[in-house]
Amino acid sequence: MHAGSEPGDRPNVDREEAADGATESLIRRRLKPRDLVRAIGPGLITGGADNDPAGIATYSVVGASAGFSQNWLLLLSTPLLVVVQQMSAKVANVTKGDLATVIRTTYGRRVAMPAVLLMVTASVVTMGADLLAMSAAVELVTHIRFIYWVVPLSALMAFVTIFTNYKRLARYLLWLMGVFAAYIVAAFLSRPNWTEVLRQTVVPTIDLRPSYLVAAVGLLGTTITPYLFFWQASAEIEERRGVQGIRRSRVDIVAGMIWSNVIAFFIIVATGAVLFSHHTPIVTAADAARALEPFAGPYASDLFAVGIVGSGLVAIPVLAASTAYGIGGVMGWRTGLGRTAVNAPQFYLVMGASFLIAMELAISSVDPIKALFYSQVLGGLSAPALIVLLLLITSSRRLMGDFVNGLPTQIIGWVAVAVMGGADVALVYTVATRGLP
């Protein structure tokens, strides 16, 4: 030994309790009301980011094209989403490393690099689609063509992400997303057949037509989306909860994910009731905004625009940061929104580059709604491989110790892989044999 053991301040613990080796029992204390309030953090931001402009467009397209027939997938995806996000958080809280770093140190760069590139590709395409959606929403209000808004909005978003304290800002921006509660009111005012809505929510409808399968993969891809795995882990690192905060983290994630899927449910119900019942497809942002007409009347477009811009302000920094966290983790760079650009130059350079590429994608895209929708399909195609990696890491007793996955988590995690993988295989097969819808 080069240096001997250096006993530090001996921790003051109940030695008898500690001696039984049950690490988790040491941190199992009842959450107080104060803890619950303080629990709200990255999970709620993750839930907000899950309903990004692309997500809202996807849910609107699903509602308009498939009515309520995919509600069951949303119900099924809720526990899957919660479990996957909790596994992402646990990786960070136990290993103290972000997801990309842990994949790299566990399986090497040969596995980490493709995993991160899958996420980065889907994220940058989604960023482009989100910028396009924000631009289309601003067009609704200003009547100036959306293409002229892409560059200013990209510059604004890059500024917000790189030069402001996003963690603090996001807590205020989340209030903007309260606008989407309008979908709850709109869903009730549009008077759907609630018996039918409920039936289609609990009884699965299987349809092998390409349009249905594309919509299903898009819906699953926008709900259980790869960049959120990386974001959740990195946000836990910045929050520094550790294993003592795992219970608070669970509360936060459950609240965020349920809020996210409740809004998604009502978007589908409102668009299904207003657009699907009249066989009106969504081609433009104005079509998507029509679902809010039962609630907002002539102001539906304005309300929709505020919501889309708000959701973009929350989600796009999350997408850009997830990209930079992923690449930074694989390369071993300094990362963190808690750092300034001077302290973590590569992290911020990657974010800047992702904005430039996303802006270019947005400018060159001709059909905003299609771009939004297919970006989510890309997410759905890449998610299963990443969930498998998450499951392998969190099921390893070597890495997780007493915090290894329990049987229910394992089962739900593998169901997520099976459901998303199954939908992907069915989509690829159907598109290969019958072509794109």
């Binding site: 030994m1 921790p11 080796g21 040491l26 608070r248 070597r398």
Partner: protein, 172 residues
């Protein structure tokens, strides 16, 4: 670095730390782990008052945490090119996070890992030793393990860092 003292180390670890000097007013802002860290930083800045600082303004705050110290410990394992780098890295980590290590060891090639690491972590560790590298084994309170891993990964010349799962503090 306060007042351009580039030759001295300033082991301050915090969030969004910023020093701004304008019209004779030196403003320090950001989050630090404890009030003691804030006091130390302010005292250091105060020492430079005669060199043109008219006013010292603190916008520093203590980072919020509800985690209890002394409940769990966590061991971090890092590989380095040589024992000197490993030992130096250990001192850098402890300097940054201002805590005592529960355990700090440097293992050189040829030394046994028996009793030092669980079997599951020995493969990578033994490979590193076989390649002539040295290992730093650092056990700290779980509450500061985030900062310790971050410093090891980002501020030292570690080749890789792994974290063993947290354990009860009485049985590190």
């Amino acid at each position: 670095v306060v007042a351009g003292q580039l030759d001295q180390s300033h082991p301050v670890h915090g969030e969004r730390l910023r020093i701004q000097f304008e019209n004779g007013v030196l403003t320090l802002s950001g989050e630090l782990p404890s009030q003691a860290d804030i006091d130390n930083l302010l005292a250091e800045a105060e020492a430079f008052r005669p060199q043109g600082i008219d006013e010292l303004r603190s916008e520093l705050s203590v980072a919020e945490t509800s985690d209890e110290e002394g409940v769990l410990v966590q061991t971090l394992l890092s590989a380095f090119e040589g024992p000197e780098q490993a030992g130096f890295a250990g001192s850098i980590v402890l300097g940054h996070i201002h805590v005592h290590a529960v355990r700090l060891l440097v293992v050189e090639p040829g030394q046994s890992l028996d009793g030092l690491l669980p079997v599951g972590f020995r493969t990578d560790a033994e490979s590193a030793l076989d390649e002539g590298r040295s290992l730093l084994i650092l056990t700290v309170d779980e509450v500061v393990a985030f900062a310790a891993r971050q410093v090891l990964e980002e501020e030292t010349r570690s080749l890789w860092t792994q974290a063993l799962p947290p354990q009860p503090a009485a049985a590190p």
